[in-house]
Amino acid sequence: MVLKKASIVSVLALAVGAASVSAASAASVTSATKASTVQVTSSTYYVNGVSVNINTFYEKGKTLVSLKDLSSKLGARLQAVSGGVQANLNGHVVELKYDSDILKVDGADQKLTVPVKSLKGTTYVELKAYVDALGAYFVKDSSGIAWIEANVLANVDHIQWANSKAFIASVETETGREDYLVDAQSGKTRQLSIPEDASELVVAPNGEKATFTNGKGEIFVIEFNSFNPVKVSNDTNIKPELVWSADSSLIYFLQGDKGSVIAQLDPTIAKITKVLDDKVDYKANLSVSADGKTFVYTVTKPGAVVAGDKPVEADDVAIDMKGTEPQVYMYTVDPSVKDNKAVQLTTSTDDKAFIYASSDASQVGYVSIADSADKSTLVIVGKDKKVVTLFNESDVYQATLSGNKWFLLTEGNKANAFIYEVDPATSAAKQLISLPSDVSEIYVKDGAPIAIMNDGHVFVEVNGHWRPMSR
């Protein structure tokens, strides 16, 4: 979003209450030795998401850090040059001269407050200036933890987990979108080779590949361990939504600008088969059961307009929006049923968002937003069309289904939002974590750490702390 581009970095920190994890101090002194007139201390930093101790000292308001210690933790390569050292990281070249207050950064001089110093055979350099020069990212959170990251993407708009170890970070540009595969542990990123007109990537359940359409409507698959996407269908019909089968072998999609048709593509033979063509327009939020036989989706009916024959100036037009709320439908493929039709599961006038079907499609859950209610709730509806409230303790902002559990971002107290885990089998709701109220989105995937978007920045939970993953 445009707003977040202009935001100042908000640094999240976990202030630990009764939690079992303990917050590390940014500069906890574990040892101290006198060296000339400065006091060298071993300070704790989180470098590339890992807690490490690095020798530092403080002078003229600046923290100087052991060049060798930080460089090795950060992954920067050092080599001796005449009268100094050269450091290389991510294509940046930084040259330091002993006792000099000049850093040569990619060929340009940069002035330091404190000259590069050598103490007992160890070279020290201004921490912030050196990190910046290498193009790395330094940020301190509110609990005092200092994070130093070698690979942090800028201006990430949204992410999705690819698998339990990596996520896809998307950066919207003026002409298209760039997608990066980010290793949530090492922080290393790799840009995926997709065309500018690619639709949003839809990750396969096996976490190894994703599918998308290009501007023509053709379908592509990109394997995460390869570089180039492969076209798997030349069909140019508009495809508003793509969905993988549970075994990651087939791609289902809505077809047509009004999403009227449900179709299936076997990407290995480029064969498209229509599943449902009932002339019902504006299907959306498609889910497919694990056995590939049941399809759940919403249908939104446009309002009815009556326009008379009077002159334009008379504004002889009337709109009836009754019954335009989305409704949940279910269609089960069964050749033995004559004139098999989709079944409408809901008729309520509430708005519906975050619609997910259970893996066997026996239940469909969604966030119900009713005009009359002061808060949104999580409800489920079964094949018997009975709607049951699953969570109504507080206003639900976002819901996602992962590993057969619901994860909700909800209203909390004044300053905070909460994450709840809800078990649809028992209706048990458990408050997991408290977040700032302006966290805009949570990202949950079975087996992966939780990630959040706050003020336009991505954070991933690491041992009870929020590691910054974008800037």
Partner: protein
């Protein structure tokens, strides 16, 4: 879950150091209703955007309908819609319609239009003059524009259609249509136009480029094919912006929705997926 194991205690709280900008996100406090009416061509785009916008702003309810472009600004003027979707800038005079005073036009998409003929028509290209002559009824036989000896069946959209306004302005450069005759048909929607051109031998009509099917032929105009690339490179002139009209400046909720549909995320994502052209592509 690995994450869950490490966070079994519910008392974990998170604190901010600095936060100067509020993000419109899942926890958005935006609340309200938006009613949108007008262009049928823009309805799929509107409903797609509404579906996505709702995920970030669940408390905003969006209802949409379509009955032709002119009903969009009419509904806004009458006060029964917050947004009028229209295929031309209704704050300006266009052929057949006076401007809607006090309404503000917000560009949301680029819509290319194509002159289309039945597959039996041998002509592949027409000049602006030939199009003007055909749609005004001066030329009535395909042989006069390089085709076979057969009467031309003109299929026109009904008065009030945004596609009609754009075709008249951009392809016919403002000249008039014929309005009656044995070889003249008038249809009420893009779907009806598609059916008419596909099933009527020797027919000529026009429609949004996105609706052109393999069962008809899109003509070159002045030797330029109707393609997205030719619209963007400026050589194909028969296109228009799709607009959202509001009564004055929109309120906070309506403004947020318009900004979403104009955002790079939507313009380069779902808008392209629905085969519209982003507004930023036109320099």
């Amino acid at each position: 879950m690995k994450w869950f194991k490490s966070l079994t205690v519910a008392a974990m709280a998170i604190a901010l150091v600095t936060s100067t900008v509020s993000v419109v996100g899942a926890a958005s406090s935006l609340k309200g209703k938006i009613v949108i009416n007008g262009s049928s061509a823009l309805l799929p785009l509107t409903l797609q955007a509404a579906n996505e916008f709702k995920k970030a702003n669940p408390k905003v309810k969006i209802s949409a309908s379509a009955a032709g472009s002119i009903t969009g600004p009419q509904s806004v003027r009458k006060g029964i819609a917050d947004i009028g979707a229209v295929d031309w800038d209704a704050s300006q005079d266009v052929p057949g319609f006076k401007k809607f005073e006090g309404q503000v036009a917000h560009k949301v998409a680029v819509i290319p239009f194509a002159a289309v003929v039945n597959k039996n028509v041998k002509v592949d290209n027409l000049t602006t003059k030939q199009l003007q002559d055909i749609f005004s009824g001066k030329v009535t036989n395909w042989k006069d524009v390089g085709g076979s000896d057969a009467d031309i069946i003109v299929v026109n959209r009904a008065f009030g259609s945004g596609t009609r306004v754009n075709f008249q302005m951009k392809a016919l450069q403002g000249t008039d249509f014929i309005s009656k005759g044995n070889n003249y048909k008038e249809v009420k929607s893009s779907g009806d136009m598609k059916t008419a051109v596909e099933t009527t031998p020797n027919a000529i009509g026009y429609m949004d480029l996105v609706y052109v099917t393999s069962n008809m032929k899109a003509l070159q105009i002045n030797g330029i094919a109707p393609t997205e690339a030719n619209v963007i490179n400026g050589t194909y002139k028969v296109w228009g912006f799709g607009y959202y009209m509001t009564k004055g400046q929109p309120d906070e909720v309506t403004k947020a929705f318009i900004e979403y549909i104009q955002s790079a995320k939507f313009q380069n994502g779902s808008l392209k997926k629905l085969k519209f052209i982003p507004i930023s592509a036109i320099k």
